[in-house]
């Protein structure tokens, strides 16, 4: 089944629970019980004054929120506008307030019934920064405090799946503030692995038995995807990337997905966001798709980024949320849609033609995917179908059509010249 949504963010999905949101509305769908709950969070001015206009929603950051679902305890916590809510059925209960609006998307951690999340705000005056925790009795407290001036904010907290008590914390943003920390005793002691420079500015981390893997979010230098040996502490560059790496998710089989972000800075050399896939715990990466940044200025209308849902046992079930990127901003789609694209789909497109696509968003997604396949494999049949798909884009997008067509033909010419 083709799965994608317009104007929704998918926060969590497993075989039973599906949680998506739009603005202050959060929808919890229990697929096993065929039950759907709609939570309406408190109205907040000006961010909810958007009249459902997508560009206004973006400007006002009306979608920003963190949804935390613990599938063991079935506890659901939502953080929006600095307020931490516990959701019970269709009602919410305020657990307390935090500094900042909400933690970075899906970068929280659940460990032994405790929920941990970090403060994520501008913090220009470099005040104290907190790691918060919600215990089994739903008490919101501070788990750890970074001293004033130590860091700007927290990027992520993650449980190490290979070490029982270990939690990892990443922070940013400037040189001296980029820490790659771990704790084995619930924040009683905390150790740093890196040199605190932007080379260690990391958002999400992936794990294998012998090493960590991650991409850097360096704004002053070129970024890389790394593996970081647990024993020696040495790290190895796997792949240079042309933008900053933010979000990363993995499953137990070694499959991992990493998204890059278009931002301002020397670390961002191109105007598109990429999604990389690894089948071997980050040892090698394959670029699945490049989605160009849209025309709206950054950071006023957000950076161009992709983020991922939590909860998927199999990575193919994961959802990708797109923000600030051309044709797809504000939409979300299932990873399977782009990973499963094969010769058989080429045949289906040739047979079904336009009927293969459910809407323009689907068409654009496949155009970007095929462009990447063609770029990587140089199989001319993909160029052929790509040119046909470009023809099927709406007439009003004639400028984009021409750009895409030229880009596709340029790839052909360059590969043709090299093969000659």
């Amino acid at each position: 089944m083709i799965k994608y949504f317009k104007k929704f963010i998918v926060h969590y999905n497993d075989s039973n629970i599906f949680i998506k949101s739009s603005g202050r509305y959060v929808y919890i769908i229990n697929q096993a019980l065929n039950k759907r709950n709609e939570i309406r969070l408190p109205f907040s001015f000006p961010r909810d004054f958007h009249f459902n206009i997508p560009i206004l929603k973006r400007l006002l950051r009306s979608d920003a929120k963190e949804v935390i679902y613990d599938k063991n305890s079935k506890k659901l916590v939502i953080i929006r506008n600095g307020q931490v809510y516990l959701i019970v059925e269709k009602k919410y209960r305020l657990l307390g307030t935090i500094i900042g609006d909400a933690p970075l998307f899906n970068s929280h951690c659940i460990h032994s019934g405790m929920i941990y999340f970090g403060q994520y705000n501008q913090n220009n005056s470099r005040k104290e920064v907190y790691i918060y925790q919600i215990d089994v009795n739903n008490n919101l407290t501070i788990a750890f405090t970074f001293n004033s001036g130590e860091i700007r904010h927290i990027h992520s907290i993650a449980k190490d799946p290979y070490l029982d008590q270990r939690l990892w914390i990443t922070t940013g943003d400037n040189n001296g503030e980029c820490l790659l920390l771990y704790t084995d005793d619930n924040f009683k002691s905390i150790s740093n692995l890196g040199d605190k420079s932007q080379d260690y500015r990391i958002v999400n981390i992936g794990f294998s038995e012998n090493y960590l893997f991650y991409g850097t979010d360096n704004l002053v230098k070129e970024n890389f995807l790394y593996i970081h040996n647990r024993r020696s502490g040495k790290r190895e560059k796997i792949l240079p990337i042309k933008q900053t790496a933010w979000f990363l998710k993995q499953d137990q089989t070694g499959k991992a997905i990493l998204g890059t972000t278009v931002e301002h800075g020397k670390g961002c050399q191109v105007n598109y966001s990429s999604i990389f896939l690894s089948d071997d715990f980050g040892l090698s990466w394959n670029e699945l798709i490049r989605i160009p940044k849209d025309i709206y200025p950054m950071p006023l209308f957000k950076w161009g980024t992709v983020s991922f849902s939590n909860g998927a046992q199999n990575l193919d079930d994961l959802f990708i949320n797109v923000e600030g990127l051309k044709f797809l901003s504000g939409s979300t789609f299932n990873l399977h849609l782009i990973t499963s694209f094969s010769d058989d789909d080429l045949r289906k497109i040739e047979v079904k033609k336009r009927d293969y696509f459910n809407n323009n968003m689907h068409l654009m997604l496949i155009i970007f995917r095929i462009l990447s396949i063609y770029r990587n494999h140089k199989d001319i049949r993909y160029l052929n179908v790509l040119l046909k798909l470009i023809d099927w884009m709406p007439i009003c997008q004639f400028v984009e059509k021409r750009k895409l067509r030229n880009l596709a033909l340029r790839i052909y010419e360059s590969s043709d010249n090299s093969s000659n």
């Binding site: 045949r347 040739e350 033609k353 001319i380 049949r381 040119l387 023809d391 033909l409 000659n420």
Partner: protein, 259 residues
């Protein structure tokens, strides 16, 4: 050997030439001709597959190339018919020789398969008309032969005269005689004839030449099969790729490369 000719239209020169030649062959028993009827559904499907180019294709085939092909120095099905003084009209020829003739809207109906089974057919000579399914193919004791205007297993599907030029593989142009199966050009290969495209001026001329090769190859292989003197080689799905209708921009590049 009991042979049935399967044709896309009643007026196809290629099928007519094969029919006329097979009638002359004392070792072959021509049972008749099966035509894919022009129905609204067929036109719709072909339009869906080929798009607007279906009109130019019909125009080029029916009007332009009809005249052009007579001017070529090499043999084409149209030239052969012209030399024989025969008009491409399968129905008329079948009537004249008292052969089986049927126009069907669907090749793959169980009713037709049953009817064909009763005709006790050995070989089908496929000259076009759409995809064939297992129940149709199983009506022939040996199988259905197709002469594909491309080199198998590398170039399956559509526009495979032009695709080798874009793949920088222009000497892989020719015709393959193969047995049909339910896949697209994936059946056992009987014979391959490669053609040097440098000898021709453009794709139209090359295609016309290849249509003459197809005709020769079809007759030659039917004769070989009837004498039991043939070899067939299997092809794996992974041995080649399926190509589709070429986008006009790529066609332009292919033409440029030809020149």
């Amino acid at each position: 050997m009991r042979v049935l000719i399967i044709a896309p239209t009643n007026f196809q020169s290629y099928a007519t030439t094969i029919l006329v030649k097979l009638i002359e062959d004392p070792n072959i028993e021509v049972v008749g001709v099966l035509i894919h009827k022009f129905t609204f559904r067929r036109i719709k499907n072909e339009f869906k597959r080929d798009g607007k180019r279906i009109f130019t294709k019909v125009f080029n085939k029916a009007i332009l190339s009809e005249k052009k092909s007579l001017n070529y120095s090499f043999q084409t099905p149209k030239k052969i018919l012209e030399n024989f003084g025969i008009k491409a009209d399968l129905k008329e020829i079948c009537k004249e020789h008292n052969l089986y003739f049927k126009e069907v809207s669907l090749f793959n109906s169980s009713k037709l398969s049953k009817e064909l089974s009763e005709l006790k057919l050995d070989i089908g000579a496929f000259c076009g008309g759409g995809l064939l399914r297992d129940n149709f193919l199983n009506s022939f004791s040996f199988g259905v032969l197709n002469c594909h205007m491309g080199i198998l297993p590398h170039y399956r599907g559509m526009d495979v005269v032009e695709w080798p030029f874009l793949e920088n593989d222009k000497f892989n142009v020719g015709v393959t005689c193969h047995l049909m199966d339910k896949g697209i050009d994936t059946g056992d290969i009987l014979e391959i004839v490669k053609v040097n495209p440098v000898k021709f001026h453009n794709f139209t001329e090359l295609r016309e030449y290849l249509s003459g090769v197809m005709y020769d190859l079809m007759l030659k292989n039917i004769a070989s099969i009837s004498l039991g003197d043939f070899e067939k080689s299997k092809q794996l799905e992974s041995d080649g790729k399926q190509y589709f209708v070429m986008h006009p921009l790529l066609k332009k590049i292919a033409i440029k490369k030809y020149n």
